[in-house]
Symmetry: C2
Subunit: 386 residues, 2 copies
């Protein structure tokens, strides 16, 4: 739903995943208009604790604090940035700080930042007093169009990414478009890789629209960013309205993620989440082709779209046995019984169609074939773009 308010264009949507509902609002200058989007929730809180990693730019933090100060007592709690701090120790330490500041059932938790902030703050909100209201203020495109569109909260252990977590429903997401507009091109690219995944795996009928819109510069107008987010909401709701816990057909959202997460973990910051899963999707498309599930043309579409977002990046320096070892930590493990010599993967058998095998949405693939797909891509013509 679009509305305008003093010249502003505001987009509002009710997110529905199964029986779970929450509001989504975005626009330029929307964050400061707290009365517009916060008051209708009737949260019965008087205190807001903003949780942010210290990598979030100061002006964004300052604007957010100022916005919430209009609504109640506001505190800022920060933690060091990076995937390596997305762990239970950070969560416990933030819980202690929040309690020391007087957090109780009249406190709301505000997650400010990218996916790491969102997940860490989501864990804090879900656990303090067994659940305080959670408000998301995503500051990256990938957070706004992917991680806040999920009930999943999680932190890492060395034994796996997001291996510890739970499901917890936010109360509202507020996307301040001016924050996204100032992002570096590489951050935008990371978000658009998930958009490409949604095009390939969920809503291919909208391919032509985005073929015209996407460009490798990753410079976009705010209205275009808005359109990307709306498309991702549509894609997520398509698969999650009947599968809010992503245990059945919604595992299609994990397309490219088994190899992607391994690359992201191994790269230790060298490859963004989007770039990592872009690589994972290329491998999966090749595997699917070898298995006769995708045509050459459908595989080419993977390349074409990822090239359009400048994300046909390849991690040539990663040692394949390391990728394979990290893949063993995939948190989808166990959806199907372990079979020696096989890896369980999310594959497509056509654009927008997850492959099913024996009633499962996970397909067994010979380890050797998976390895071959990684080798094929790491040794191929495509190289990292700056």
């Amino acid at each position: 739903m679009l509305s305008t308010n003093g010249g502003l264009t505001i987009y509002k949507k009710q997110i529905q995943f199964g029986t779970h509902q929450y509001g989504f609002i975005s626009g330029e200058g929307i964050l400061g208009q707290v009365a517009e989007w916060l008051n209708p929730l009737e949260l019965e809180v008087d205190t807001y604790m903003i949780i942010s990693d210290s990598g979030v730019p100061h002006p964004i933090i300052a604007q957010t604090v100022a916005a919430f100060e209009k609504a109640g007592t506001t505190y800022l709690l920060t933690f060091p940035p990076g995937e390596k701090n997305k762990n239970l120790i950070t969560v416990e330490s933030l819980c202690r700080k929040a309690l020391a500041l007087g957090a109780d059932r009249r406190t709301a938790i505000v997650a400010l930042g990218g996916g790491v902030s969102g997940n860490v703050a989501g864990m804090v909100a879900g656990m303090l007093c067994r659940g305080l209201p959670l408000i998301h203020i995503p500051t990256t495109l990938i957070a706004a169009s992917d991680s806040v569109l999920s009930l999943k909260q999680g932190v890492n252990l060395d034994q796996g990414k997001n291996i510890l977590g739970f499901f917890y429903t936010p109360r509202v997401v507020c996307v301040e478009l001016s924050f996204l507009h100032s992002l570096p091109a590489r951050e935008i690219r990371s978000g658009l890789c998930e958009l490409v995944k949604n095009l390939l795996a969920i809503l291919p009928e909208q391919m032509d629209t985005y073929r015209k819109l996407l460009r490798p510069s990753n410079q976009y107008r705010m209205e275009e960013l808005q359109q990307f987010i709306e498309f991702c909401i549509e894609a997520k709701m398509t698969v999650m309205q009947d599968d809010p816990y992503e245990k059945n057909h919604a595992v299609v959202l994990e397309y490219g993620h088994t190899i992607g997460h391994a690359v992201e973990l191994l790269g230790n910051g060298d490859y963004s989440h989007g770039e990592s899963i872009a690589f994972g999707m290329l491998c999966m498309s090749t595997v699917s082709k070898w298995l006769g599930l995708l045509t050459e043309k459908e595989v080419d579409l993977h390349y074409e779209l990822l090239e359009l977002v400048g994300a046909n990046v390849i991690p040539p320096s990663l040692w394949i046995p390391n990728i394979e070892r990290y893949m063993l930590r995939d948190n989808k493990k166990g959806y199907r019984r372990y079979v020696p010599g096989k890896t369980g993967l999310v594959l497509l058998n056509g654009l927008g169609r997850i492959n099913q095998e024996a009633g499962s949405f996970i397909t067994y693939v010979d380890d050797a074939l998976v390895r071959e797909s990684i080798r094929y891509h790491t040794e191929s013509k495509i190289h990292i773009k700056g």
Copy 2:
């Protein structure tokens, strides 16, 4: 539902809290009959990880391991006993161990022990892979009749008992009555204090039955223990079927707990959970009488019933300002807005009736009156029984 199986009397019940359902089975020798109660769940797991504190007697651990070995690969993971180890560090360490042993989505977590084991294992089950099936094997009366009849999982911080946690539904509870039958009298008493709470606060119409049954020796036959558990299930379902997250009228289950938890924490093991909340209930009954909410006779019933279970114990050595300081950590804080000089409490305005004030199930009481009730009871004639 009662059934017999080779001379055994088995009690089966479907627990229903809101939309959450799980099975409850109890009987003598039932644990070993895995096929009877585990197979119908169709859990799709092949591995069982039993989590137990190392204070659980070895024969009980051995019997439980043997029982689950009939169903699949079984591992035992232990942690040091006691409330002080019910923390997030223990949970994380158990998660690491479980993952090192290969835990994945085809693993079930078995909570073996009292309330601490149940809560710690419940947190592990709820967080690993965002939720593995949870099976409860309570080995204390209070666990069997109270903590497993709840969706609440939680661990402590210095800043409060159960202050970190979430809601997670077990798949089944199996009570092996022979485990409970061998418990020391003091353990039985602890469980019966919660039963007394249920009589006073939820189902007073069954008072006469239990007046005849309860005895200060705390020695009971298995059929009597069985009856106690059935009564507690009835009480819990009465208040939780419409309030599974215990946010509205089901906070009556917290009767006596604001002061009780403070005493339990301060006592550091000197007072059991039941004894601590028994003290809390006596204080609450006195406060209620002073406020004109309960009659002298209704207060006397509190004494009479707690005397019958030998739990009219008083912590005379605790310094009242300390109790008050610990009460500030009550995790019900914030159900109502903080009002200086007042404590929010669960009070009764008659047996089986929670008091409401301004639409809330929490009643504001002057701090001075609460302090007076503690002083009245710590300086009164009642003393600790051995």
